[in-house]
C-alpha cells in the first residue's frame, strides 16, 4: 500500500499540471491593505505584462547572433498563418486520435487490473511484481522495441501512448481500491448489500477520485509519448510536423508545433477534469 502510494506520488510529480489556478501567495493573506496589483484591473495589467515580458525575452533570444537564429515570435506567427489550415487540423486530430486510443486502451486494461490487484492479495502477489519490474523503465525507452515489434507505425505509436497511460492508471486504481476505508464496507454489509451492490454502489464510487487522479496524470504522459513516437516515425501528427519543421529547416514552424502540442495537451486535461467533475458530483472540495 505504502509502496504503491509512493509510486503514485513519484508519477504525479512528472505530470504537467497546467490547469491549476495560480497560488494567491502568502502576502495576500498577511496584509490587510489592498495594493493596486490586488485589484481585478491591476491583476489583468500584471498578467498582460507577464506575457509581454515573455515575448520580449523570446524576441531577444531570436536576435542573439548565431549561425541559425532562433525564430522570433513574429516569424512564428507568420509561419502558422502560412500553413494550410486543413493539413494542420488533420495533424492535430491525428495526434489527438492516437492519444485518445492509447489512453482508452490503457484505461480499459488498467482500471480492471488495478481493481483486481487492489482487491485480492492473490492477484497482487501474482500480477504486481510483473508490473513493478516494468515500471522503472521510462516509456520512451520502449521506442526501439516497439519499432521492431509493430509492423505498422500506427500500432507502434498507439502502443507507446497506451504504455505511457497504463502505469499511472493501474497504480492509482490500486491505491483507490486498497485505500477504501473498511468502515464503508462494514456499513454496506450491515445494511444488507450483496456483492454486486457492494462493488458497484460502494467500491466503485469510493475509488473514483483516485481513478480520475490516475487518468489525469495518464493523459499528460500519453501526450508525451505521442510526440516522442511521432518524432521518431514521422508519419503525420503534430509531433511529426514539429520534427519535420526542423529537418526541412522551416524553423519558425517548430514553435507552431510546440504551441499546438501545448494547447492540445491542455484541452485533453480539461476534458478529463470536466468528466471528473461530472462523475464525482459529491466531492465539493
Amino acid at each position: 500500500m505504502a509502496k504503491s502510494l509512493k509510486g503514485v506520488s513519484a508519477l504525479s510529480s512528472l505530470a504537467p499540471d497546467i490547469a491549476r489556478e495560480p497560488p494567491r501567495g502568502l502576502e495576500g493573506k498577511l496584509r490587510r491593505s489592498v495594493r493596486w496589483w490586488n485589484t481585478p484591473a491591476g491583476s489583468v495589467v500584471l498578467q498582460v505584462s507577464s506575457l509581454v515580458i515573455f515575448l520580449v525575452i523570446w524576441e531577444l533570444f531570436g536576435r542573439l547572433p548565431r549561425a541559425i537564429p532562433i525564430p522570433t515570435p513574429d516569424q512564428s506567427l507568420q509561419a502558422g498563418l502560412s500553413l494550410s489550415p486543413l493539413g494542420f487540423l488533420h495533424d492535430c486530430l491525428l495526434s489527438f486520435y492516437r492519444v485518445g486510443l492509447g489512453f482508452l486502451i490503457g484505461a480499459i486494461i488498467g482500471i480492471p487490473l488495478g481493481v483486481v490487484i487492489g482487491y485480492s492479495p492473490l492477484a497482487r502477489g501474482l500480477l504486481f511484481p510483473a508490473v513493478e519490474v516494468l515500471r522503472p523503465v521510462p516509456p520512451i525507452a520502449w521506442i526501439p522495441l516497439a519499432l521492431l515489434f509493430f509492423p505498422n507505425i500506427e500500432g507502434m505509436i498507439v502502443f507507446l501512448t497506451f504504455y505511457g497511460a497504463f502505469f499511472p492508471i493501474v497504480y492509482n486504481t490500486i491505491a483507490g481500491m486498497s485505500g477504501i476505508p473498511e468502515m464503508y464496507i462494514h456499513a454496506a454489509r450491515s445494511l444488507g448489500s450483496g456483492s454486486w451492490t457492494l462493488f458497484w454502489r460502494i467500491m466503485v464510487p469510493a475509488m473514483l477520485p483516485s481513478i480520475f487522479t490516475g487518468l489525469h496524470i495518464a493523459i499528460g504522459i500519453a501526450w508525451l509519448m505521442v510526440v516522442a513516437g511521432e518524432m521518431v516515425a514521422v508519419t503525420g501528427g503534430i509531433g511529426a510536423l514539429t520534427w519535420q519543421a526542423y529537418q526541412t529547416t522551416h524553423y519558425p514552424l517548430i514553435f507552431v508545433g510546440m504551441a499546438a502540442i501545448g494547447v492540445l495537451g491542455y484541452v485533453s486535461s480539461q476534458i478529463i477534469r470536466a468528466l471528473a467533475r461530472f462523475v464525482i458530483r459529491w466531492d465539493i472540495s
Binding site: P181, M183, Y184, H186, A187, A188, R189, S190, L191, G192, S193, G194, T197, R201, I202, P205, A206, L208, I280, R281, W282, D283, I284, S285
Partner: protein, 275 residues
C-alpha cells in the same frame, strides 16, 4: 416487539500482531443486555470495547465464548454470522457514504435488502427524516452538512431497517461540545419513542451516565467488564439534567467506584488528545 437482547458470554479475543506478537484484547467478557435497554460500555481507549462491538456486529471473530441475539447464536468458535440489518452500526468516524445524498443513504438499506421498492423506500425515508426535524436536506451530500447533522442522518439510516439492536461505536467522539449535546438529546428522544435495544460504546463516563440505563465499566487491556452500574435516572432525560444534583452525585459516586479505571481512561484520553 422488535427489539432483542444481546447476551455476551465469556468472550475472549486473541489476535497476533507483527509488533507485539499475541495480544489478548478481551479476556472472559460477559454482558447481558436486555431487550429495549440502553446499555453503555465505558472504558479507556484501547481496552477492546470496539473489538467487542465488532464481534457482535459480525465484523470480527472471537477466540472463545459466544454471543447471542435473542435466542439466536450469532458468534461462537466456528460460528460466524455475516453482518446484517438486524445489528446496525453507527460508526465512530461517520459511516454515511459521501457519494450518496442523504436520501440515497437512508434508502439504501431497504432497497438493497429488497424490503421496499425504490419509491416506497424514498417515501418512508422522507417521512422518517421529517419526523425528526431533518426535512429539507434530502438532496444534500454528507460533505455539505455539519458533522452533527451527519450523525443524526446516520442514526436514522441505521434505524430505518428496524434493527433488533443498534450498535454505536463512540459515535459522538469527534463532535464539538455543542453538537454533541444536540445529537445526544436527539438520540435520547429517538430512544424514548422507538425503544430500540442500544449497545453504545464511549470512553466518556459523563456521556455514559447521561444516556444509559445501565453502564458497564471495562478494564484496560485485556478488557473485561469490571462493574455494572444501574443508572436509575428518570426518562425522558435532557441536558439540563447534567447539572442536577442527582446526576452529579451519581457521577461522583461512580467515579469513586471506578477510580482506577477512570483515571486510566482519563490518562488515555489525554494521550489521545495530545497526539
Amino acid at each position: 416487539m422488535n427489539s432483542l437482547g444481546v447476551t455476551i458470554r465469556h468472550v475472549t479475543k486473541k489476535y497476533v500482531t507483527r509488533r507485539d506478537g499475541e495480544v489478548l484484547a478481551l479476556n472472559d467478557c460477559s454482558i447481558g443486555i436486555h431487550p429495549e435497554e440502553f446499555f453503555v460500555l465505558v472504558g479507556p481507549s484501547g481496552c477492546g470495547k470496539t473489538t467487542l462491538l465488532n464481534i457482535v456486529a459480525g465484523f470480527d471473530t472471537l477466540t472463545s465464548g459466544d454471543v447471542s441475539l435473542g435466542n439466536m447464536l450469532i458468534a461462537a468458535q466456528g460460528v460466524i454470522s455475516d453482518p446484517g440489518p438486524d445489528r446496525m452500526v453507527v460508526f465512530q468516524h461517520g459511516g454515511l457514504f459521501p457519494w450518496m445524498t442523504v436520501l440515497e443513504n437512508v434508502c439504501y438499506g431497504p432497497i438493497v435488502q429488497k424490503q421496499m421498492t425504490r419509491a416506497e423506500a424514498c417515501n418512508h425515508a422522507r417521512s422518517m427524516l421529517a419526523g425528526v426535524g431533518l426535512q429539507g436536506i434530502e438532496e444534500r451530500y454528507p460533505g455539505e452538512m455539519s458533522s452533527g447533522m451527519r450523525r443524526r442522518v446516520e442514526i436514522i439510516r441505521a434505524l430505518i431497517g428496524r434493527p433488533k439492536v443498534l450498535l454505536m461505536d463512540e459515535p459522538f467522539r469527534a463532535l464539538d461540545a455543542l453538537n454533541k449535546s444536540v445529537v445526544q438529546e436527539f438520540l435520547l428522544r429517538l430512544f424514548d419513542t422507538h425503544l430500540n435495544t442500544i449497545f453504545f460504546i464511549t470512553h466518556d463516563l459523563r456521556e455514559a451516565l447521561f444516556l444509559g440505563d445501565r453502564v458497564g465499566v471495562m478494564t484496560t487491556r485485556p478488557g473485561r467488564v469490571k462493574t455494572i452500574i444501574d443508572v436509575g435516572l428518570p426518562r425522558p432525560r435532557s441536558t439540563r439534567m447534567l447539572d442536577s444534583r442527582d446526576f452529579l452525585r451519581l457521577k461522583a459516586q461512580v467515579t469513586e467506584e471506578v477510580h482506577e479505571e477512570a483515571l486510566e481512561a482519563f490518562a488515555a484520553g489525554e494521550r489521545e488528545a495530545a497526539r
